[in-house]
Symmetry: C3
Subunit: 315 residues, 3 copies
């Protein structure tokens, strides 16, 4: 396919239009047989990716490396800060310039907000943001959107619920923002008072004329939803352990709850993983579970993005 | 060659018959020029292996990765638990399902007994056990058997001695069990009282009508042996440091001891490595030393197993 | 090209003549399009490199791995001692023999002086020294020399200054020794009293009839130099923090200082990186800065060395 657009870097999902996202998804579709090892490919043979992971993130790192390698490319990099020159006091800008001298594309995971943007300024080669602190993790958002589109047919007109820690979840903020660009029907935010979606996000949704509703329990709204996106509620957000335990049990998604609330048969349940208690394993074998597929979709989506920034023509 | 059998996973050596093992060894023979870098091969081009090492094991990990890469395949994975999602509380079952979504085969090293069996239940792709706690390490057993066969001509009719910590050594339990399936002549277990081979193992040998004898020093039996398999005696097994020091010096294999006891010229000395004091470096240059060859054999043997589970026809 | 010489190992720069070094540089020139990902190459397809890094060194490790992979080869290894068998008490000699059984070339980084020489004695395959304690780091010296030759046209007749910690810098000792083999015009050593170049080095330069001068500040000599090679001055070298702060500000290279001292327009400033304060970022955008290029040159130079020891004919 010919890209209808060009990007030098993948820093934030906000740099992409709906058309551009859909173009990525089309390319991801083409990547699936390669991602699954059914079709050999060497379009990126000779190309080199550097993974600079200043904080560990197995899932993200493995899927990027797998994506690159299935396309014939190679990877170098580090998985933890302890192995890097950062220890010796090197600035991120310097590390990026050196890494850009070795490889054709940099995948950066960093604990500081804005790290990827900074890196893109100092790099001669494309930078893909694999998470910068509480800020952005655009490839996660791409794979979330792609999963919704693949499993629901299209993104428009869906009713999508978000449950859990809506205040601190980078994943949910970013996905909600991206969804607001589509003709989405409605969004539902389900969380305890202390973990409500932040005001800035709600303001942004209003600007995009997205209708949203807030709930403090899933029970009243579960039957309406096409998609339920879960995230973990972390104990450290609560001053009181007892309060945490109460909240946890209300927000735990399990088969019984779905039945009790009359969830649609077609309801898709998503989760960025890893999960702990918030999503019961009794959902795993149900038709609702799409979270392992969602993780797997990380590979073709990242292949599409790698191919795009490395300017390969996959027509 | 065409496999005369099929296996989805390699969890324990007990899942294999003698015929199946010999079939693996034949394939390993064919792999040798590839394992040594003398013959290029790309039969596994496009295939992806994930190494999930919850505890470090350099030797095992490197030989698996080398095996895969010499066949044209690629590897992703982690080498230490600190870099994984396990820290965030993810279950092994979840990690396996995600990894199975990324790659074509999983090589798992885990500190819990039974981890590989569990993994094989949750994985859509083959799982190879690279050691699960005190339980099984089947690829080590395969390479041990292969080394015996290669260096002695055949496994049947040999007199094989095991020396060192026979109580806790997973390597020795597993190898003795596997050998009991062959028409082995005799086994000799040489260890201090406190580190004798466990009863269950001896029972199992009786069931297979293997003749065995137990000794508390190597001196009386060394001259009889075709193979002597050494393992390390660890200080932490002894309450008393003095006792440990005494034992250690009795069980140390060195040139002088071999000469004194009249070891056969053809005696093969094996060791799973790493060694510390139990095997003197003065053996290294002798015709008895096969332990470095043994380590090296890990590559073609693992290539044969990888090829088998990835269902490639190496005829 | 056909090598006019053969080396089994790369342990120290002292094993190479000027002719041999120049032969490496010619080959490095040919490697550049491959190192930059512009030309596909698979001359080392099927070959396997083991990186044994007993201490972390991101830059060196990534550039070796990138070099190998751009040539079609593969890598296995470890990046930190914690993942190795060294923890279990294995000797370096044993680890080397095992690694030599898996791969075609070993790249070793070790904290002990002489480790690489020892390794070369026990290895059946070539060993490349990637730094052994305070002793040698020959591939760094090769890339430094190559950078001087590339950016200045030739090494002969240059005036080269070294600034910073000249007492403890392995990089500078090794480079100065290597330069002494060329028809270099003059060397200038600029350092605080406590960090002067060691006597043995100065003796060696005298033997090679190199003229050298020592300075305690850059001001008096900066205008003469064709190349200024900077290194970091570490606080731990000083008993007194105040003294360190004074020294630091005198030895900090920045635009203003270059202007004040009348540095040549053609002055090349080098640094092995990572840098901290000793080299101001205001130099980065000037024509003087060659340090990022220098780091990048590590790839083609290491490709040339890998090709040489793996005996590939890149004619």
């Amino acid at each position: 396919m010919n890209y209808r657009f060009e990007k030098d870097h993948v820093v934030t999902i906000k740099d992409f239009t709906v058309d551009e996202m859909e173009s990525i998804f089309e390319l991801a579709d083409e990547m699936i047989p390669i991602a699954e090892g059914e079709k050999k490919d060497d379009d990126l043979y000779g190309k080199l990716l550097t993974t600079l992971f200043y904080e560990p993130s197995t899932r993200t790192r493995l899927s990027f490396e797998g994506a690159m390698k299935r396309l014939g490319g190679r990877c170098i990099g580090f998985a933890k800060p302890g192995t890097s020159s950062a220890k010796k006091g090197e600035t991120l800008a310097d590390t990026i310039r050196v890494a850009a001298g070795y490889a054709d594309v940099i995948v950066l995971r960093h604990h500081h907000e804005g790290a990827a943007r900074l890196a893109s300024k100092f790099s001669d080669v494309p930078v893909i943001n694999a998470g910068d602190g509480a800020n952005q993790h655009p490839t996660q958002t791409f794979l979330d959107l792609y999963t919704i589109q693949k499993t629901c047919g299209e993104i428009d007109n869906l009713k999508i619920g978000f449950i859990g820690d809506l205040r601190y979840s980078r994943t949910i903020h970013s996905l909600a923002e991206a969804l607001s660009l589509f003709d989405l029907h409605k969004m539902y935010f389900i969380s305890p008072e202390a973990l409500k979606a932040p005001e800035y996000l709600l303001e942004e949704l209003k600007e995009h004329e997205v209708q949203y509703h807030q709930f403090d329990k899933p029970d009243a709204i579960l039957s309406e939803l096409d998609v339920l996106y879960c995230t973990r509620i972390q104990e450290e957000r609560f001053a009181d352990r007892l309060e945490f335990e109460q909240v946890k049990s209300c927000y735990r998604i399990k088969k019984k709850l779905l039945e009790k609330c009359g969830a649609k048969e077609s309801l898709k349940i998503m989760h960025p993983l890893p999960r702990v208690d918030e999503l019961d394993t009794d959902i795993d074998s149900s038709q609702h579970a799409v979270y392992f597929q969602q993780a797997k979709n990380g590979v073709p989506v990242r292949q599409a993005l790698l191919a795009m920034v490395l300017d390969k023509n996959f027509s």
